[in-house]
Symmetry: C2
Subunit: 230 residues, 2 copies
DNA sequence: GAACATTAGTTCGTCAGACGAACGAAAGAG
DNA sequence: CTCTTTCGTTCGTCTGACGAACTAATGTTC
């Protein structure tokens, strides 16, 4: 049907391409939580065999991006309020560690890079649109995590970011939240890159996520009809 | 060859059974880091088809328990000193969160359960053997995490525990480390279950893992021939 | 006409067999 | 002894098949 989605083999296992494509479509909200993912449909969609699709599904399953209902098949995972709270707690803890490690391990060049990025972000983030806010935030994390010298943390955190998915972007729509967020980022950079104060860097990162989490819950409740009394 | 390993279908996808069996064998050091895992060999070993084996491998791969070399196939993952350091940093952060959440969220019954377990551990852990130490420590974590009311944290932490794998158990062989560890556990329980002091509980958990991590590195260097100048 | 039993269709879970591509080791040539 | 060729191994992918479990439609009975 939609040949443009068809994946092209390029020296990487097909399944990885399918994983990426499918993950991206879930993240981009092309598919919604609860939607069924029929193997046959995915085969057609990406132009690959069932073998490939099934292996891709197994990987997304262990990333918790999809949920496989017994004898029913996979659906896009549905997050409850409790899940979101939990994810933000974990995220806060990991990002706290990220800030701490940057303060302790980053090279002078890393520190300069973060400071420079923060400058740029006054326009790309504070006064940017949804897309530029997203990408500058991504860059921020890339530098922060690279400076911390802990690739496992980087990977685990990226997995959490993926799971939180669309809720992460809500913050970019709220101008108030963005300016507050910018203040927090300045505090993080000051502690982690300028002062090299591990404890403060950690606290600043945690606080940043605590606030982001609260907002995500508010947005979640606004978007998802109240199901608490069902 | 070894029909006793053959997996028996019992109302759960075969692949899950294979995942569990394979994971356990890696954890039990039946297979060693770097060992190749030939699909054909695994098919015979567990008496299942390639489809099942390959899907199981995909899951273990995203748990990072195995590493798939391009066009070569999977091997049991090899951890470097840096990986272990990184894993313990992440573990410390997550267990700190676990302690904090227990202090904040646990029911009175949870608290009592943890306090009672600590009593039992004076014999099952402090004066136990390798097996009883392992299982009482597992129980400790089960109660701690259940009280924190964050299933995502529980799952992520369990994944880290799995990846650290055998290094976790080294601590149970060192009598000195065990008594120190027991002291730390008392401190954790006191802060998390008795005082309900979230900050102290967190700090105690982190300190516990910091020390465990240092020991793991020492043991690692003892066991793995020095490769730094290769 | 409503409740229940039966049937047919869908989708997954698993298996078997096949083929090409990439890698590694062994054999042969210079 | 080194370089090249060849061959076997193992993965990556595809196809086709079958039973089991669920869903929906159909039909039967009261």
């Amino acid at each position: 049907m939609d040949a443009s989605r068809r994946v092209t083999p390029v020296a990487a296992p097909l399944r990885n391409l399918v994983v990426r494509a499918l993950r991206q479509e879930i993240l981009d909200d092309v598919m919604h939580p609860g939607d069924r993912l029929l193997e046959s449909a995915l085969c057609e969609r990406y132009g690959v065999s069932r073998t490939v699709v099934r292996e891709a599904l197994r990987q997304l399953e262990s990333e918790r991006l999809i949920t496989v209902l017994p004898n029913r098949g996979p659906i896009v995972s549905v997050l409850s309020v409790h899940d979101i709270t939990s994810l933000y707690e974990v995220r806060g803890s990991l990002e706290g560690l990220a800030g701490e490690l940057f303060a302790r391990n980053a090279s002078e060049a890393d520190a300069v890079a973060l400071i420079n990025l923060l400058d740029k972000m006054e326009s790309t983030y504070l006064h940017g649109d949804l897309r530029s806010r997203g990408s500058s935030k991504d860059t921020f994390y890339r530098i922060l995590l690279a400076g911390g010298r802990n690739e496992i943390l980087a990977e685990d955190l990226s997995r959490v970011h993926t799971r939180i998915g669309i809720f992460r972007h809500y913050a970019f729509l709220d101008e108030d939240r963005v300016s507050t967020s910018m203040l927090e980022l300045r505090r993080i950079v000051d502690a982690a890159a300028r002062q090299r104060d591990a404890a403060r860097a950690r606290a600043a990162c945690e606080e940043h996520i605590r606030l982001a989490g609260e907002l995500a819950i508010v947005e979640y409740r606004r978007r998802v009809p109240d199901l608490t009394h069902s």
